[in-house]
């Protein structure tokens, strides 16, 4: 009989323990964090470490990491959102946000921002990124890393060509003159590594438009400026670097980001366009170039260039938006953005960090910081992918000389205008 009672007590204890464990498990919410940077090095390990620290601090939240390849990031998120099973937190390129908002995939973050400090909280982030993420008055993403495009140049090649590396070109005319001196096809060397492969060709071209006082769209996205006089002038200048002045190596329509960095690392070109990540990319490809690479602003009438960035957003289908917000807020804490800068060489988006000793006193970052302060955002337009296709078609047609630059720009302008209607 006693034995039977003991068994009953044991069974009861196990049942209670099981029930308590179940309740505890249910109290712990699980969120999915999808990010292509998780699959990259050194960004992935750095982010993973931060997420682990977040889970230690927030014992009621379990974060399931969902690394995704950079090429699959779009179709995976779109498919999951359409299928009703999106990740809770997702990293998105600024250019993709308007399309996702239009499709109803993202949650407005205004209420959460208001709780976190409202205006004071959001004003610390780079204004061009905050502006880009504010769609129809609502905020859809918190910038995590971002910077502006600059021109990287090889000081050794400048010196060899008899040019002063301390005085980079400041106008389009000066740029052509310098580029001609840097070009020597017999030695397999050209001045400028033009990137015109379809994926990011027009984004890389945008800075030249901006520097000439134009852009692809007007400020309220009601018209295109591609075929405006300043737009056509910038487009013609850019195309003729290859077709007329011959300062670009053959086959620019095939040159993608990796090829561009390789051309520069192999010293086949003296100048390339790139964000801050390019700086590290060059030295990874050729460590001997350390100390021989500098950044310059885009030459032209206006001191500005394209500002890029990625943001953290919460998917509409998230079952735990509050927990998702806590993760976003944690990853964006000043100390974590600084850690990400140190470990993954990604520029922070908090302006207060630009004043930190680590960044403000780094001479390598002077030009980049100036560029970020005056940056104009990448196009934030709901039909950007289609407009981009028209721009790439125009660029390829002009580079392959099937159309004149003026004709190609005008046709692209007409096609984009039709799209906007």
């Amino acid at each position: 009989m006693d034995r039977g009672r003991s068994w009953s007590v044991l069974l009861g204890t196990v049942l209670v323990a099981f029930l308590l464990a179940t309740i505890a498990a249910e109290a712990k919410v699980s969120i999915r964090f999808q990010d292509w940077r998780l699959a990259e090095k050194p960004a992935g390990p750095s982010l993973t470490e931060m997420v682990q620290a977040f889970m230690k601090e927030n014992t009621d939240i379990e974060v399931v990491l969902d690394p995704v390849s950079v090429n699959d990031k779009l179709n995976k998120f779109v498919t999951q959102s359409r299928g009703g099973d999106p990740p809770d937190v997702v990293r998105i390129l600024t250019t993709d946000v308007p399309g996702f908002v239009e499709m109803g995939f993202l949650l407005p973050l205004d209420k959460m921002v208001a709780k976190a400090g409202g205006k004071a909280y959001i004003e610390d982030f780079s204004p061009y990124l905050v502006k880009a993420m504010t769609i129809k008055g609502a905020l859809y993403g918190i910038p995590h890393e971002g910077d502006a495009l600059v021109i990287y140049y090889n000081t050794d090649l400048f010196k060899k060509a008899g040019l002063n590396p301390d005085a980079p070109p400041k106008t389009f005319e000066e740029f052509i003159s310098v580029a001609k001196k840097l070009t020597n096809p017999a030695e397999g060397r050209w001045a400028f590594g033009m990137l015109a492969s379809p994926a990011i060709a027009s984004i890389w071209m945008q800075s030249w438009f901006l520097a000439n006082g134009a852009d692809f769209f007007n400020s309220d996205y009601t018209d295109t400026l591609v075929d405006s006089p300043a737009g056509i002038e910038a487009f013609k200048f850019y195309v003729e670097l290859y077709t007329k002045h011959g300062v670009v190596p053959p086959g620019p329509t095939d040159v993608d980001y990796a090829a561009q960095v390789n051309l520069f690392a192999q010293q086949k070109v003296a100048m390339i366009v790139g964000p801050f990540a390019t700086y590290g990319g060059i030295f990874s490809a050729n460590p001997q170039l350390r100390g021989k690479v500098r950044m310059m602003r885009f030459p032209g009438k206006v001191k500005t260039s394209s500002g890029r960035g990625t943001v953290f957003s919460i998917a509409t289908g998230s079952k735990h938006p509050e927990a998702a917000w806590r993760l976003i807020d944690y990853l964006n804490k000043p100390e974590n953005q600084l850690k990400f800068f140190r470990e993954a060489t990604m520029m922070p988006t908090r302006q207060s960090l630009f004043k930190s000793k680590e960044i403000s006193e780094n001479p390598e970052l002077t030009v980049m910081l100036e560029a970020i302060r005056t940056a104009a955002s990448y196009p934030i337009y709901v039909k950007w992918s289609e407009a981009n296709r028209h721009l790439v078609d125009a660029l390829h047609a002009a580079l392959l000389k099937t159309k004149t630059p003026e004709q190609a720009a005008r046709e692209a302008g007409a096609a984009i205008r039709k799209l906007m209607r």
Partner: protein, 308 residues
């Protein structure tokens, strides 16, 4: 009515009961049910949903609107669709022809049982084993205008006098995707034809030899007729694969330059995942399916001789 044999060992009453349930067609249906369920989930449902989407417009905020044949009408008036269709048809015809010729010649060589033929058979099969994305990246490096191996080798042996922009010229880019795709896909044709060659009775060649047939005549009157069905099935499969080729071309050229290599599959991908026009993309995909189906039906009807 046929009975299932293993049930015979059971007791007579149970056997009679089970035979009533499992006998004949019912048993057959029962056995194929898992396969049908599996196919419904992975094949029939996505296909039916794509067909459904082709007649709808996917609206923002998860909305959907019936648009009848509008998506198909739009395709018919879309110059990019016709451009992609033309590129796809030319690519498919050239690729299948190249694969068949190359595969046939290599299969003939391998069947000569020369020394080391097993090694060469394995070596020639390697491209087929490589994933299309890896093949695309590899070929992208090989064909790079500035530091690619293709230009370096061809210039060194004197075939080229200057570097060629293989992926940056409209015509060269098309040629490049055909060559890269052939490199990856000919091994399949080769191995199928090689297997077919092994089944041809030696006596037929001996008889042809006695009749004084030359090597070409033996090929024409013995080899090819014997391989007729293998050629039919292989070329049909190769046609279907080439018509919907995607990964390798996406990585290699992304449809450029100037859309010269934008196959229908790439247009479908772009329309759905870049422009978010799922209805229109589904309509193009349905047209692709119809083209492949129509071709397969006509081809098999023409190629398979009627009984009697």
């Amino acid at each position: 009515m046929n009975k299932i044999h293993f049930l015979r060992s059971f007791t007579p009453a149970r056997e009679a009961y089970r035979c009533r349930w499992f006998g004949g067609e019912r048993a057959g249906y029962l056995f194929v049910t898992p396969a049908i369920l599996f196919l419904t989930v992975v094949l029939i449902f996505p296909l039916a949903y794509a067909a459904y989407l082709a007649f709808h417009e996917v609206l923002p905020q998860f909305g959907i609107k019936f648009v009848g044949l509008d998506n198909f009408r739009r395709a018919l008036s879309d110059t990019h669709f016709w451009g992609s269709l033309r590129t796809t048809v030319i690519f498919t015809v050239v690729s299948v022809t190249l694969h068949m010729v190359l595969g046939f010649l290599l299969a003939l060589m391998l069947s000569q049982r020369l020394k080391g033929s097993v090694f060469f058979r394995l070596l020639l099969l390697l491209p087929w084993m490589v994933s299309q994305v890896v093949a695309g990246v590899t070929w992208r490096w090989i064909l790079n205008a500035q530091y690619g191996v293709a230009n370096a080798v061809l210039t060194r042996i004197g075939i080229l006098h200057k570097d060629m922009p293989w992926l940056a010229d409209v015509h060269l880019a098309f040629l490049s995707i055909v060559v890269a795709y052939a490199w990856q896909c000919f091994p399949f044709v080769m191995i199928m034809l090689y297997a077919g060659l092994q089944t041809i009775p030696k006596e037929q060649y001996e008889a042809a030899q006695i009749d004084g047939a030359s090597a070409i005549q033996a090929l024409r009157f013995v080899t090819i007729p014997n391989l007729q069905y293998v050629i039919l099935v292989t070329s049909l499969m190769d046609f279907i694969w080439a018509f919907r080729a995607f990964d390798l071309i996406k990585v290699l050229t992304d449809g450029g330059p100037l859309r010269s290599t934008e196959l229908l599959s790439i247009l479908v991908y772009r329309t759905s995942f870049e422009y978010y026009q799922f209805g229109y993309a589904s309509a193009i995909a349905m047209v692709m399916l119809l083209v492949v189906l129509a071709f397969s039906l006509v081809y098999t009807k023409l190629m398979i001789p009627r009984e009697g």
